[in-house]
Subunit: 447 residues, 2 copies
């Protein structure tokens, strides 16, 4: 294992013996010379081998070996994983990194079936069937390196500020958010368990437990029959919750700082490569992000000639796009907090402003798509019970949650953010399917 | 929000006006003076208030306010969350940090029900019923700060070495490990979905996708009816998988370095507090960890007078304790890799040594408890199919997994490690229930 050199290290390595491991991307099998493009997780390098096509009259062991090597290379299927040892040579005429490796020996780890079932231009569904091959593409690999950097930056921001990381349970005795879109399963002792639709209740529990500030990045589950580019039945949810806030503004301020920090980390580490492979700039957002109350947002949309057809007073996707265009034109910003939602279109646990009666909550739009709902939560149990009843919820079913607030509670709030939506929008992709390792939807449960 | 001072900041704050938020731990309501111990996520501080028990003859607004404050404090229930503003005074006679706050005003965020349902000495089951109160204990809070530091160190180690973070799906069309201990649920279109018992197949998928080195920390699910101190139906699994290894030794070397790094981080940040509250040293393990082949381990156990009653040739929990005692006596080490397991007691995907026929795998014991299984995986599909058949598995059911290896694959291996087991053993706790935020077991699905 120790001798292996990564492709990205080759440029600065001296000419001479070298060993590289990766998979075959292409083979160019010319009569007199063979070229193989070998890719590993860090890049691609050209292997070269002068072809020996026949033993000839002066056959000897060396010539036999050369013939065998030529035949091995001719037979290499795309995707075959191998280790090559050979001579590294710097040559500025070689377009691929200015180096090539003259093949000495070649050891196949596992040969690929020569009939690759997909190509780069296969349909998204077909590519998902063969996701493990699809992910070998350089841009797909980059997506998950961006994901890694983004998440590590989020966690680093929080940890530097003394947040506690929690792992809330995904198996619950009752729904976490609503009775709709719920996966149920048979548990022990004839109990029904439900998969957590969000960590909402349990991250609030950390506040009454006195944890102060917490975060979690974990799967959440929605039995959502939608087929849009933004919905999945299983998704990675980024959650934070903090105590002793005055309003949702404290949550929004934390979130914009957090995102600025994490986008900066991505821009620094991957900006150039994202530009090259996705043709988009990773823009580090300035803070504060613009804030627009919902009522005002609806007016703006209307003044732009679009009438939101919804009757509940919320924005629809086209309305969100209109607002994003307005914010881009007016503030040159990709993000906007929409605030002051009416309680009718928010969860029962959102706190309401005493004067306006509107919720102390926001949605965060990124390039016109909602990526977050944030709010101050109602921590006064009597008010909470009333708000639940008003929504037609039976407080008895919520008892385990309401109990949290019966033994003392701090004012608190937080947000939940969909990881795949952020990545999709950051990279200018058209669907969360493209930025999810293995997408799960109504008709997609495998591989 | 900005004015709030954390308790840990009080010692270095100047005498004068201050505002602190937290919950009531105790009230000492003496005739002439009242003391409240207020705790926040960083510590506890003493509040003091000279009692005003009656208005007296010279009643005025100030005296009325003083009487009201005294009555408010007298009525404070343990657990009530409040903000106090007052005068900070350094006084070395105050045992609790050498500071106290003379109460000016006191604002209750949410009052606790005065009948606290649990005490520190309540049964574990009762405490789990009221986990959100139980977690307010200082040592419980510390557990999750240790968890946070431990996990962040793991991820930092990996990210500094270019690992990619993946989120593998927890909903699967087929079992991830075995048909036993499997949670099933109804999915869309009459399909049955299963909850992932481990990310095993999907972290291997990242290897054939050319990701090189990956990690994931995420929930895993086992419909395991056991009631031991080490089992749960949902647990946090720490997983890593790497390519181009020569054997399981490369995995073991990564894991021991990783653990040394993470234990060092915990010892540095929390060592003193762990010593104070758990009376244990966080020992940073030296590397390499001792390695003992299983056959030799059985001999050692036997020579210590214990005959493992199992017939399958594996160690049992008592055998593991005996080995741990031996390793502690012989090497002064808390960790030991047990290696060279017979294929009969390992998963079908463990690679076998060509000479010995034994698997290229290990278990890692920490203080006598298994925390990890690691292995090189079989990446040659024909061998993999044979090994599956040998175990009585139907290759057709495994087809989506076997496909991974039909289009090229690198040699690879990895490990899975139970987070709660590591924390339990690190802190000398008796059960994973104590170190899990909300434990899930056969009879435990709430809160």
């Amino acid at each position: 294992m120790n001798e292996r050199v990564l492709v990205k290290q080759l440029q600065s390595a001296p000419d001479g013996p070298v060993s590289v491991s990766g998979w075959v991307e292409t083979v160019r099998d010319q009569k007199k010379v063979q070229f193989v493009i070998l890719r590993d997780e860090t890049g691609a390098v050209q292997l070269v081998n002068p072809a020996t096509r026949e033993l000839g009259d002066d056959a000897d062991a060396a010539r036999e070996a050369a013939l065998a090597l030529t035949e091995t290379i001719s037979a290499l299927a795309t995707g075959t994983f191998l280790t090559v040892t050979g001579e590294l040579k710097h040559d500025e005429r070689v377009k691929l990194g200015g180096v090539e490796i003259k093949v000495g020996a070649l050891e196949i780890a596992a040969a690929a079936n020569p009939e690759t079932p997909i190509a780069a231009d296969s349909s998204a569904d077909k590519r998902m069937d063969w996701r493990f091959i699809d992910l070998r593409q350089r841009r797909n690999n980059l997506i998950f390196r961006v994901q890694t950097t983004f998440e590590h930056a989020l966690r680093t921001y929080w940890i530097e500020r003394d947040y506690i990381e929690v792992h809330t349970p995904k198996l619950m005795a009752s729904p976490s958010e609503s009775n709709a879109e719920l996966f149920a399963l048979e548990y022990f002792n004839d109990q029904t368990a439900y998969l957590a639709q969000s960590p909402q209740f349990f991250k609030q529990m950390a506040q009454v437990a006195g944890f102060g500030k917490i975060f979690e990045i974990a799967p959440a589950f929605r039995a959502d029959p939608s087929f849009t580019s933004r919905h999945a039945t299983e998704f990675t949810s980024i959650d934070a919750e903090i105590s002793w806030i005055d309003s949702h503004e404290d949550v929004a301020r934390m979130q914009e700082e957090l995102l600025q920090f994490a986008f900066q980390a991505v821009a620094d580490k991957h900006g150039a490569e994202v530009k090259e492979l996705f043709d988009v700039e990773v823009q580090v957002p300035s803070i504060p992000f613009p804030r627009i109350p919902l009522a005002e947002a609806l007016e703006i949309v209307k003044s732009r000639g679009y009438e939101v057809p919804r009757t509940d007073g919320d924005l629809d996707p086209e309305g969100e796009r209109q607002i994003a265009a307005y914010v881009q034109e007016t503030y040159g910003h990709q993000f906007v907090f929409i605030t002051d939602y009416h309680p009718a279109i928010r969860a029962f646990y959102h706190m309401r402003d005493e004067e306006t009666g509107l919720t102390k909550s926001y949605d965060l739009l990124f390039n016109g798509v909602e990526i977050t709902t944030g709010a101050q939560r109602e921590h006064r149990v009597d008010v909470l019970v009333e708000q639940a009843k008003e929504k037609g919820l039976d407080p008895e079913h919520l008892d385990f949650y309401l109990d949290f607030f019966r033994f003392g509670a701090p004012p608190h709030g937080g947000f939940g953010m969909g990881l795949a939506r952020v990545l999709m929008l950051m990279l200018g992709e058209s669907s969360i399917r493209e930025v999810t390792y293995l997408f799960r939807g109504p008709t997609r449960l495998a591989p």
